[in-house]
């Protein structure tokens, strides 16, 4: 548990016992695609049951980082550890694959593409249980009902195919499915970005409740600072694959130290917003960085 961005949340009881075992530590993670360094020396720590935001604009490396964490992309160098167990190398066998899956699960951005169109909701959750736990049929059925209930879905949705569900409902299914493996860390990759505002607030509310009850740690990848402000305790700001600022969310968002963080904050539309000034600041920052790409 090192670095400035570790702060434990109020997880208690028996969860606390294995919580010691669930710290996510990322050290000096690098990944290049061709000659482009998408992720360049990113490090952070997520305390057990904590909530860490990774923010930045498109191309900042936040999604690549998330994908490396769950093993969809293999890092060029650096280390990813959960509870001290290294997971940056490819898995060698089934047991290792399953163990890693129980450490970390992910919810994807697009609810319309993240569910198999042929699999009904109940089955979608149940197959995770079948893979990971040795339960009887009755136990499994009961657990599916419990998980779906946890995300606010009932019997009617359980027997529906994804196409019969709205975007918000699909995202709930994706969350239930991720929770089914009882992961220690849940990665939410722009998980509310594709949803309408009123639905987005519902999902944020749901996620806050899940973290409180299940004690699962959140890694919240987002471009939306206002969302990050409400769901995370710590935040890492990425730009061009590098961490430009990190710290407790409240501090970073109220007193940003890096000019880029300030620019990001100023850019959020609100009453009295001055887009012309932001544009000028942005150009100034680009000149300072020697950037000539334009965007």
């Amino acid at each position: 548990m090192t670095g400035s961005v570790t702060r434990t949340s109020g997880t208690t009881g028996d969860k606390g016992a294995d919580a010691v075992d669930a710290t996510l530590e990322v050290v000096d993670l690098c990944k290049a695609f061709g000659g482009h360094r998408a992720v360049d020396g990113v490090s952070f720590t997520l305390a057990p049951g904590g909530s860490l935001g990774i923010v930045g604009e498109s191309g900042c490396g936040k999604t690549t980082t998330a994908r490396m964490l769950v093993g969809l992309v293999s890092p060029d160098s650096g280390s990813i550890r959960v509870g001290g167990r290294e997971r940056s190398a490819p898995t060698r066998n089934r047991a290792e694959r399953l163990a890693r899956a129980r450490e970390m699960q992910m919810v994807f951005q697009d609810p319309y593409l993240s569910l198999d169109p042929r699999v009904v909701v109940r089955e979608c959750v149940e197959e995770v249980l079948r893979l990971h736990f040795d339960l009887t049929r009755e136990q499994r059925t009961a657990r599916v009902v419990e998980l779906l209930d946890q995300v606010g879905l009932g019997e009617r949705e359980a027997s529906a195919l994804p196409k019969a569900l709205s975007g918000g409902q699909r995202q709930r299914v994706a969350i239930a499915r991720a929770l089914a493996a009882e992961p220690k860390v849940l990665i939410l990759d722009e998980a509310v970005a594709a949803l309408d505002v009123s639905i987005q607030a519902q999902i944020l509310d749901l996620l806050a409740g899940i973290r409180r009850d299940a004690g699962v740690g959140f890694l919240f990848v987002s471009h939306d600072l206002a969302v990050v402000r409400h769901i995370t305790e710590d935040v890492v700001v990425l730009r061009g694959g590098r961490v430009v600022e990190a710290g407790p969310t409240v501090d970073v968002l109220t007193e940003p130290r890096h000019t880029y963080t300030r620019l990001l904050l100023d850019s959020v539309p609100r009453v009295g917003w001055d887009p012309a000034r932001i544009a000028a600041d942005r150009r100034a920052l680009e000149r300072e960085a020697g950037g000539s790409s334009g965007d």
């Binding site: 769950v70 093993g71 969809l72 089934r94 694959r97 399953l98 890693r100 899956a101 129980r102 970390m104 699960q105 992910m106 994807f108 951005q109 697009d110 593409l113 993240s114 569910l115 198999d116 169109p117 042929r118 699999v119 995770v128 893979l131 990971h132 994706a174 499915r177 991720a178 493996a181």
Partner: protein, 295 residues
Amino acid sequence: MSTLRIDREAADGAIVRRPGFGLLRALRQGPLFAGAAAVLVLLVLIAVFAPLIAPYDPDAVDLTATLAGSSSEHLLGADQSGRDILSRVIHGARTGLLGPLLVVGISTFLGIAIGVAAAWRGGWIDAMLSRSMDLIFAFPGMLVAILFVAVFGSGLTAPVIAMSVAYTPYVGRLVRSIAGQEKARPYIESYRVQGWSGWTICVRHLIPNITPTVLAQSAINFGYALMDLAALSYLGFGVQPPDSDWGSMINEGQAALLQDAMLPSFAPGLCIVVAVVAFGIVGEGIADRVAKRER
């Protein structure tokens, strides 16, 4: 007739439609589709119940009826050996459909296996499989078939094996590209994150989701395969006399043409045309429906 005219322009991922069938495309929807489908059902029924429907034994020689014209006794007349042409055409539907069915079945199976393996594993496996498929494209299927017949003897087996090999890359290339797109979809990625093995994900989720597109290609291939196999037996490399087969019947009927008897070659020829056109219309129709559904 050239067996494999590869449309190099056809981009990876598009269903390969042989040039010359363009006209059929205009007729593929509406009543014509239903009509063609009905013709196919009828053909299958005829093939299955051939012994019950056929008025005569297809091999029964009746020298008194040599080259008899159409009459109430022989609806389509009789050939040089006095065999009833209608009965032979009916029995010919069996080999006529069985051959292409085997070719399409085997090539679809192999194509899916190779295409999915190439797309899923990528890297050198992909390179090797893709180059192998290109290599097969380079050899005209007809020539390979003739070579096989020379080595393994005539009959249905050798041409079917050769044609299956020749048709596999059509399916394989299509599968490789759509499986590649499918693999990048979040729902497949989420199964990987859950810890499933690649094999299970492919068999349970990826292949079923690409099947409609693959079947559309296979339905189109069916018509081509029927034509190619008929051409082989016309050339004397396929089913051997006295077994009835449309292709060899045309060949045998050629001599009768000189004696002003049209039916011995015309009747099986018409059958081939009807079957190929019907498969073309149905295949194109299915392909369109799949494309529409995906949009």
